[in-house]
């Protein structure tokens, strides 16, 4: 009986392989082409996130440019607005300023399952769509927000790693 139980445990963990991936697995063959608005994704430069409101001026994320965001330990982050999933003390988070020139739908694409908020005038905007990225792209999560023109705050929280691939794209 005991032995049978252990067997089940082992099988269970073999069968349920992690689906998390910050980058696409090397042997992955894309089934679908990358939509043009996400074309910048593979081409990422590092960008440091803000840990508090005062740092936001120096953490501007241009729309359409992919970055490897470098985040802060969650206990060191003072979010402008407490996220619904703030993350534990061993997780990472941070904030960016996003400048929206033209009102419209904007998609935030990330390489993990971190929590994403966009604040307009300090309040979190309700998202209009959720999804995974195209197969093999390394985009793990995409959330779409309707945004007015202006300078908004992007908050990322509950991330497992210090670095997070990130792209904000205008939805065509």
């Amino acid at each position: 009986m005991r032995a049978a139980c252990y067997l089940v445990v082992v099988l269970g963990s073999l069968l349920s392989r992690p689906t998390a991936a910050q980058t696409a697995p090397p042997d992955c063959r894309p089934a679908e082409p990358m939509p043009p608005e996400l074309g910048a994704w593979p081409d990422r430069a590092p960008l440091a996130a803000a840990a508090d409101r005062a740092m936001l001026g120096g953490a501007v994320l241009p729309v359409g440019r992919a970055v490897d965001a470098s985040l802060h330990r969650t206990p060191d982050v003072n979010f402008v607005s407490l996220p619904e999933q703030p993350g534990g003390s061993v997780s990472f988070g941070g904030m960016f300023t996003v400048e929206v020139v033209e009102a419209g739908s904007y998609r935030v694409a990330i390489g993990s399952a971190a929590w994403i908020d966009v604040l307009v005038d300090g309040a979190a905007v309700l998202s209009t769509a959720h999804g995974r990225g195209p197969g093999c792209s390394g985009i793990r999560k995409m959330v779409t927000f309707p945004l007015p023109a202006g300078r908004h705050v992007l908050q990322l929280s509950a991330n497992a790693e210090r670095t997070l691939p990130l792209l904000v794209a205008r939805v065509p």
Binding site: V8, V9, G12, S13, S16, R17, P18, T19, A20, A21, T74, L82, E84, Q85, P86, G87, G88, S89, V90, S91, A113, A114, A158, N159, A160
Partner: protein
Amino acid sequence: MVGRLMGLTLLVFGCGGRPPAARAADPLRIAAAPVPADNPTTDSKVELGRRLFYDADLSINGTMSCATCHGQRRAFAHGTRTHPGALGHAGRRNVLSLANVAWSRTLTWADPRVTTLERQATIPITGVEPIEMGLGGAEHVIAERLGADACYRQMFAAAFPEEGGTIALATVAKALAAFQRTMVSVESPWDRYRRGDTTAMTAEARRGAELFAGTAECAGCHAGPFLSDGSFHRLEPDSARRPDRGLAEITGNALDAGRFRTPPLRHVALTGPYFHDGSAPTLVDAIGRHRAVAPAVDRLTSAEMGELVAFLTALTDSAFVTDPRYQMPRRFCGRAR
């Protein structure tokens, strides 16, 4: 089994005039839910349990709390078929709502061994089938992480004086259980209607309630104030191709293959998708898949189907899903977080 349960029966809310106690003691006279004798509910335990419920430090990489899967807006269920774990392992079953969970005789979709919330709480934290919060074999991080926080030390000391304020999986589970026992929801339009407020439900929903209890043959299994008999039934023929054998995985009895616990239906309009694997996207779909146990569903007109759905929608207690007492706490130990 029953004898043991009875032995554990105490009042749920021993914490002087908390509003949930007032709600439970309403004219519908729902008998008090059982509370294990070794984990009486106290204000300090509930407060600690609430903080823990929202704390992602209970997951290996700090990314996932109980609330990640059990969100208040959906009556503490989740809007996806299954939810992956903190390390990305695929989920196996649909996330259950936690409303009125204190009354469930057995917990989870198909494991009659899980009879207490204390036992259940360790499953997502340390379980490996599937890996959810991922602390299996790493339970020591609970004491390390939480013990590093002076306010947690204070809260554990207040909640578990008889255990010297020990910070460990067992006390975490007890506090989480105490908090979940306060998740009481008996203020839906259906409750108000049954208490005599004839305007609480629309005429369509009232016809749906009659169908549910009558010709549609639902109430035999979805029985009582929480609309579940707590028993295990097979709605669709089992086949070897189904990866989830349900009750048979626990009993080893082939006759139990494909049997799942009748899910309680309060808040069901908020908790889709439905069924143990989340394979029924809508209420109409879920109802239609009952033809083997409730053949009347095939004879329902579309108007009658609408009435059943209207009744099920009247089982939503909108005050419960916005009640500040169940929200993520913003202050601990008198300080903003």
